[in-house]
Protein backbone atom coordinates (compact mmCIF):
# COMPACT_ATOMS: atom_id res chain seq x y z
CA UNK A 1 0.00 0.00 0.00
CA UNK A 2 1.26 3.48 -0.88
CA UNK A 3 2.27 5.78 1.95
CA UNK A 4 3.28 9.39 2.40
CA UNK A 5 6.92 8.26 2.61
CA UNK A 6 6.72 7.36 -1.12
CA UNK A 7 6.48 11.07 -1.89
CA UNK A 8 10.23 11.45 -1.38
CA UNK A 9 11.02 9.69 -4.65
CA UNK A 10 8.55 11.81 -6.62
CA UNK A 11 9.86 14.96 -4.96
CA UNK A 12 13.46 14.18 -5.87
CA UNK A 13 12.49 13.61 -9.49
CA UNK A 14 10.49 16.85 -9.63
CA UNK A 15 13.23 18.84 -7.95
CA UNK A 16 15.71 17.68 -10.59
CA UNK A 17 13.32 18.97 -13.27
CA UNK A 18 13.00 22.33 -11.53
CA UNK A 19 16.78 22.75 -11.40
CA UNK A 20 17.02 21.99 -15.12
CA UNK A 21 14.48 24.63 -15.98
CA UNK A 22 15.49 28.26 -16.31
CA UNK A 23 13.59 31.29 -15.03
CA UNK A 24 12.12 32.09 -18.41
CA UNK A 25 10.20 28.84 -18.30
CA UNK A 26 8.56 29.74 -15.01
CA UNK A 27 6.69 32.59 -16.67
CA UNK A 28 5.53 30.29 -19.45
CA UNK A 29 3.14 28.31 -17.29
CA UNK A 30 -0.15 27.27 -18.87
CA UNK A 31 -3.10 27.45 -16.50
CA UNK A 32 -6.26 25.39 -16.78
CA UNK A 33 -9.04 26.56 -14.46
CA UNK A 34 -12.18 24.57 -13.61
CA UNK A 35 -15.22 26.29 -12.07
CA UNK A 36 -15.99 24.54 -8.77
CA UNK A 37 -19.07 26.30 -7.36
CA UNK A 38 -22.15 24.27 -6.37
CA UNK A 39 -23.63 24.29 -9.87
CA UNK A 40 -20.30 23.33 -11.45
CA UNK A 41 -19.88 20.45 -8.99
CA UNK A 42 -23.44 19.26 -9.62
CA UNK A 43 -22.86 19.39 -13.38
CA UNK A 44 -19.71 17.23 -13.19
CA UNK A 45 -16.76 19.56 -12.55
CA UNK A 46 -14.97 17.11 -10.24
CA UNK A 47 -14.40 14.29 -12.78
CA UNK A 48 -13.41 16.93 -15.35
CA UNK A 49 -10.82 18.39 -12.97
CA UNK A 50 -9.46 14.92 -12.17
CA UNK A 51 -9.27 13.88 -15.83
CA UNK A 52 -7.31 17.05 -16.65
CA UNK A 53 -4.88 16.46 -13.78
CA UNK A 54 -4.38 12.78 -14.62
CA UNK A 55 -3.80 13.59 -18.31
CA UNK A 56 -1.19 16.21 -17.43
CA UNK A 57 0.51 13.66 -15.15
CA UNK A 58 0.42 10.71 -17.53
CA UNK A 59 1.68 12.79 -20.46
CA UNK A 60 4.43 14.19 -18.23
CA UNK A 61 3.54 17.78 -19.14
CA UNK A 62 5.60 20.26 -17.15
CA UNK A 63 4.57 23.90 -16.73
CA UNK A 64 0.87 23.07 -16.85
CA UNK A 65 -1.17 23.84 -13.75
CA UNK A 66 -4.77 22.74 -13.17
CA UNK A 67 -6.65 24.79 -10.56
CA UNK A 68 -10.20 25.48 -9.34
CA UNK A 69 -12.10 28.69 -9.25
CA UNK A 70 -15.44 29.69 -7.83
CA UNK A 71 -18.45 30.64 -9.84
CA UNK A 72 -17.79 31.60 -13.44
CA UNK A 73 -21.28 33.05 -13.77
CA UNK A 74 -22.83 30.81 -16.42
CA UNK A 75 -24.66 28.02 -14.58
CA UNK A 76 -26.32 26.48 -17.61
CA UNK A 77 -22.96 26.04 -19.35
CA UNK A 78 -21.17 24.25 -16.49
CA UNK A 79 -18.78 22.49 -16.21
CA UNK A 80 -16.68 25.36 -17.51
CA UNK A 81 -12.94 25.13 -18.19
CA UNK A 82 -10.77 28.16 -18.92
CA UNK A 83 -7.39 27.77 -20.58
CA UNK A 84 -4.69 30.41 -20.26
CA UNK A 85 -1.74 29.80 -22.55
CA UNK A 86 0.96 32.48 -22.13
CA UNK A 87 0.87 34.99 -24.97
CA UNK A 88 -2.54 33.82 -26.19
CA UNK A 89 -6.08 34.91 -25.50
CA UNK A 90 -8.08 33.08 -22.83
CA UNK A 91 -10.17 30.19 -24.19
CA UNK A 92 -13.42 29.21 -22.43
CA UNK A 93 -14.79 25.70 -22.91
CA UNK A 94 -18.35 24.92 -21.81
CA UNK A 95 -20.34 21.81 -20.91
CA UNK A 96 -17.10 19.89 -20.55
CA UNK A 97 -17.08 16.21 -19.59
CA UNK A 98 -14.21 13.76 -19.02
CA UNK A 99 -13.91 12.88 -22.72
CA UNK A 100 -13.80 16.54 -23.75
CA UNK A 101 -11.23 17.17 -21.01
CA UNK A 102 -9.03 14.48 -22.58
CA UNK A 103 -9.43 16.14 -25.99
CA UNK A 104 -8.61 19.59 -24.61
CA UNK A 105 -5.28 18.28 -23.32
CA UNK A 106 -4.48 16.38 -26.53
CA UNK A 107 -5.60 18.94 -29.10
CA UNK A 108 -5.16 22.30 -27.35
CA UNK A 109 -2.49 21.93 -24.67
CA UNK A 110 -0.29 19.44 -26.53
CA UNK A 111 -1.32 20.09 -30.15
CA UNK A 112 -1.73 23.87 -29.90
CA UNK A 113 -5.13 23.86 -31.66
CA UNK A 114 -8.18 25.34 -29.88
CA UNK A 115 -11.05 22.80 -29.74
CA UNK A 116 -13.53 25.10 -31.49
CA UNK A 117 -16.30 22.51 -31.18
CA UNK A 118 -16.37 22.95 -27.37
CA UNK A 119 -16.68 26.75 -27.29
CA UNK A 120 -19.77 28.77 -26.29
CA UNK A 121 -22.33 28.68 -29.08
CA UNK A 122 -21.20 25.24 -30.22
CA UNK A 123 -22.55 23.30 -27.24
Amino acid sequence: MKSIADIKAIRDKMQAQIVNRDNKDAEQETRIVVGMATCGIAAGARPVFNELVDQVTSRGLTNVKVTRSGCLGMCKLEPIVEVFVPGEEKVTYVKVDAQKAKDIIARHIVGGQVCTDYLIGEE
Partner: protein, 180 residues
Amino acid sequence: MREIALHILDIVENSVKAKASLVEVIIEAKNNLLTVTIRDNGKGMDKEFLARVTDPFTTTRTTRKVGMGIPLLKQAAETAGGTFTITSELGKGTEVKASFVIDNIDRMPLGNVAETAVTVLNPEVDFVWVYTVEDRTFTFDTREVREELGEIPIDSPEIVTFLKSLLTENIESINGGINL
Protein backbone atom coordinates in the same frame (compact mmCIF):
# COMPACT_ATOMS: atom_id res chain seq x y z
CA MET B 1 -25.79 15.99 -6.42
CA ARG B 2 -25.34 12.29 -6.90
CA GLU B 3 -22.83 11.57 -4.13
CA ILE B 4 -22.32 12.63 -0.53
CA ALA B 5 -18.67 13.16 -1.51
CA LEU B 6 -19.79 15.88 -3.94
CA HIS B 7 -21.62 17.66 -1.11
CA ILE B 8 -18.44 17.39 0.95
CA LEU B 9 -16.49 19.00 -1.90
CA ASP B 10 -19.00 21.84 -2.03
CA ILE B 11 -18.99 22.47 1.72
CA VAL B 12 -15.18 22.37 1.82
CA GLU B 13 -15.14 24.99 -0.96
CA ASN B 14 -17.16 27.22 1.39
CA SER B 15 -14.45 26.78 4.05
CA VAL B 16 -11.72 27.64 1.56
CA LYS B 17 -13.66 30.73 0.46
CA ALA B 18 -13.98 31.70 4.15
CA LYS B 19 -10.15 31.89 4.29
CA ALA B 20 -9.71 28.87 6.53
CA SER B 21 -6.11 27.74 7.02
CA LEU B 22 -7.18 24.35 8.38
CA VAL B 23 -10.15 22.23 7.34
CA GLU B 24 -10.97 18.93 9.04
CA VAL B 25 -13.25 16.41 7.39
CA ILE B 26 -14.42 13.48 9.50
CA ILE B 27 -16.34 10.68 7.81
CA GLU B 28 -17.59 7.92 10.06
CA ALA B 29 -19.74 4.89 9.27
CA LYS B 30 -20.84 3.08 12.39
CA ASN B 31 -23.98 1.30 13.61
CA ASN B 32 -25.98 2.05 10.46
CA LEU B 33 -25.22 5.76 10.64
CA LEU B 34 -22.94 7.67 8.28
CA THR B 35 -21.80 10.95 9.82
CA VAL B 36 -19.89 13.67 8.00
CA THR B 37 -18.33 16.61 9.87
CA ILE B 38 -16.58 19.51 8.13
CA ARG B 39 -14.88 21.90 10.51
CA ASP B 40 -12.87 24.99 9.58
CA ASN B 41 -11.08 27.90 11.24
CA GLY B 42 -12.25 30.42 8.66
CA LYS B 43 -13.97 33.73 9.19
CA GLY B 44 -17.24 32.26 10.51
CA MET B 45 -20.70 33.81 10.44
CA ASP B 46 -22.60 35.99 12.87
CA LYS B 47 -25.72 34.71 14.67
CA GLU B 48 -28.18 36.49 12.46
CA PHE B 49 -26.61 35.21 9.21
CA LEU B 50 -26.18 31.70 10.60
CA ALA B 51 -29.87 31.50 11.52
CA ARG B 52 -30.89 31.91 7.88
CA VAL B 53 -27.99 30.14 6.14
CA THR B 54 -30.01 26.98 5.44
CA ASP B 55 -32.39 29.13 3.41
CA PRO B 56 -31.42 29.04 -0.29
CA PHE B 57 -31.83 32.80 -0.52
CA THR B 58 -28.92 33.37 1.84
CA THR B 59 -25.62 34.03 0.13
CA THR B 60 -22.80 36.56 0.08
CA ARG B 61 -22.24 35.78 -3.57
CA THR B 62 -22.32 38.70 -5.93
CA THR B 63 -22.77 36.68 -9.11
CA ARG B 64 -26.28 35.50 -8.22
CA LYS B 65 -28.88 35.67 -5.49
CA VAL B 66 -29.09 32.08 -4.27
CA GLY B 67 -26.65 29.92 -2.34
CA MET B 68 -27.50 26.26 -2.70
CA GLY B 69 -24.60 24.41 -1.07
CA ILE B 70 -25.81 24.26 2.51
CA PRO B 71 -29.56 23.82 1.80
CA LEU B 72 -28.83 20.92 -0.58
CA LEU B 73 -26.76 19.02 2.00
CA LYS B 74 -29.41 19.60 4.69
CA GLN B 75 -32.05 18.22 2.37
CA ALA B 76 -29.94 15.19 1.41
CA ALA B 77 -29.36 14.28 5.07
CA GLU B 78 -32.95 14.75 6.19
CA THR B 79 -34.27 12.79 3.21
CA ALA B 80 -32.11 9.87 4.32
CA GLY B 81 -33.50 9.84 7.89
CA GLY B 82 -30.52 11.79 9.21
CA THR B 83 -29.91 15.20 10.75
CA PHE B 84 -28.11 18.39 9.82
CA THR B 85 -26.53 20.97 12.11
CA ILE B 86 -24.35 23.98 11.50
CA THR B 87 -22.57 25.99 14.18
CA SER B 88 -20.38 29.00 13.59
CA GLU B 89 -18.68 31.80 15.42
CA LEU B 90 -17.54 35.01 13.82
CA GLY B 91 -13.76 35.11 13.61
CA LYS B 92 -13.42 31.54 14.92
CA GLY B 93 -14.79 29.12 12.35
CA THR B 94 -17.64 26.91 11.28
CA GLU B 95 -18.72 23.31 11.77
CA VAL B 96 -21.17 21.53 9.48
CA LYS B 97 -22.43 18.12 10.50
CA ALA B 98 -24.71 15.87 8.47
CA SER B 99 -25.79 12.32 9.22
CA PHE B 100 -27.44 9.71 7.02
CA VAL B 101 -29.12 6.41 7.93
CA ILE B 102 -27.00 3.95 5.96
CA ASP B 103 -29.74 1.52 4.98
CA ASN B 104 -32.28 4.25 4.21
CA ILE B 105 -33.53 3.69 0.68
CA ASP B 106 -33.31 7.42 -0.12
CA ARG B 107 -29.67 7.78 0.95
CA MET B 108 -27.30 8.72 -1.85
CA PRO B 109 -24.01 6.79 -2.05
CA LEU B 110 -20.95 8.18 -0.28
CA GLY B 111 -19.15 8.24 -3.64
CA ASN B 112 -15.54 9.02 -4.45
CA VAL B 113 -13.98 10.53 -1.32
CA ALA B 114 -10.44 10.23 -2.73
CA GLU B 115 -11.33 12.35 -5.76
CA THR B 116 -12.99 14.95 -3.56
CA ALA B 117 -9.98 15.11 -1.22
CA VAL B 118 -7.48 15.72 -4.02
CA THR B 119 -9.68 18.20 -5.85
CA VAL B 120 -9.49 20.69 -2.97
CA LEU B 121 -5.71 20.40 -2.43
CA ASN B 122 -4.08 23.79 -2.37
CA PRO B 123 -0.87 25.15 -0.89
CA GLU B 124 -2.60 27.73 1.33
CA VAL B 125 -4.93 25.40 3.23
CA ASP B 126 -4.17 22.33 5.31
CA PHE B 127 -6.59 19.43 5.41
CA VAL B 128 -7.08 16.58 7.81
CA TRP B 129 -9.28 13.73 6.61
CA VAL B 130 -10.33 11.08 9.11
CA TYR B 131 -12.11 8.12 7.56
CA THR B 132 -13.65 5.53 9.87
CA VAL B 133 -15.68 2.39 9.14
CA GLU B 134 -16.74 0.54 12.29
CA ASP B 135 -13.45 0.29 14.25
CA ARG B 136 -11.04 0.87 11.35
CA THR B 137 -9.63 4.37 10.82
CA PHE B 138 -7.42 6.05 8.24
CA THR B 139 -6.09 9.59 8.68
CA PHE B 140 -4.70 11.78 5.92
CA ASP B 141 -3.01 15.00 7.01
CA THR B 142 -1.70 17.32 4.29
CA ARG B 143 0.73 18.90 6.75
CA GLU B 144 2.68 15.62 6.72
CA VAL B 145 2.64 15.65 2.93
CA ARG B 146 3.85 19.23 2.73
CA GLU B 147 6.70 18.42 5.08
CA GLU B 148 7.94 15.80 2.60
CA LEU B 149 7.36 18.07 -0.38
CA GLY B 150 9.42 21.05 0.67
CA GLU B 151 9.02 23.78 -1.94
CA ILE B 152 7.03 21.66 -4.40
CA PRO B 153 3.35 22.72 -4.40
CA ILE B 154 0.94 20.06 -3.16
CA ASP B 155 -1.40 20.73 -6.08
CA SER B 156 1.18 19.82 -8.74
CA PRO B 157 -0.52 17.35 -11.11
CA GLU B 158 1.98 14.55 -10.37
CA ILE B 159 1.43 14.88 -6.62
CA VAL B 160 -2.35 15.05 -6.99
CA THR B 161 -2.41 11.88 -9.09
CA PHE B 162 -0.16 10.07 -6.60
CA LEU B 163 -2.20 11.16 -3.58
CA LYS B 164 -5.39 10.04 -5.28
CA SER B 165 -4.11 6.49 -5.65
CA LEU B 166 -2.79 6.55 -2.07
CA LEU B 167 -6.20 7.64 -0.77
CA THR B 168 -8.11 5.20 -2.98
CA GLU B 169 -6.05 2.25 -1.73
CA ASN B 170 -6.34 3.21 1.91
CA ILE B 171 -10.07 3.94 1.77
CA GLU B 172 -10.73 0.62 0.04
CA SER B 173 -8.80 -1.20 2.71
CA ILE B 174 -10.76 0.57 5.48
CA ASN B 175 -14.03 -0.27 3.70
CA GLY B 176 -13.07 -3.95 3.77
CA GLY B 177 -15.53 -4.80 1.01
CA ILE B 178 -18.36 -2.69 2.42
CA ASN B 179 -19.77 -0.46 -0.29
CA LEU B 180 -20.89 2.82 1.25
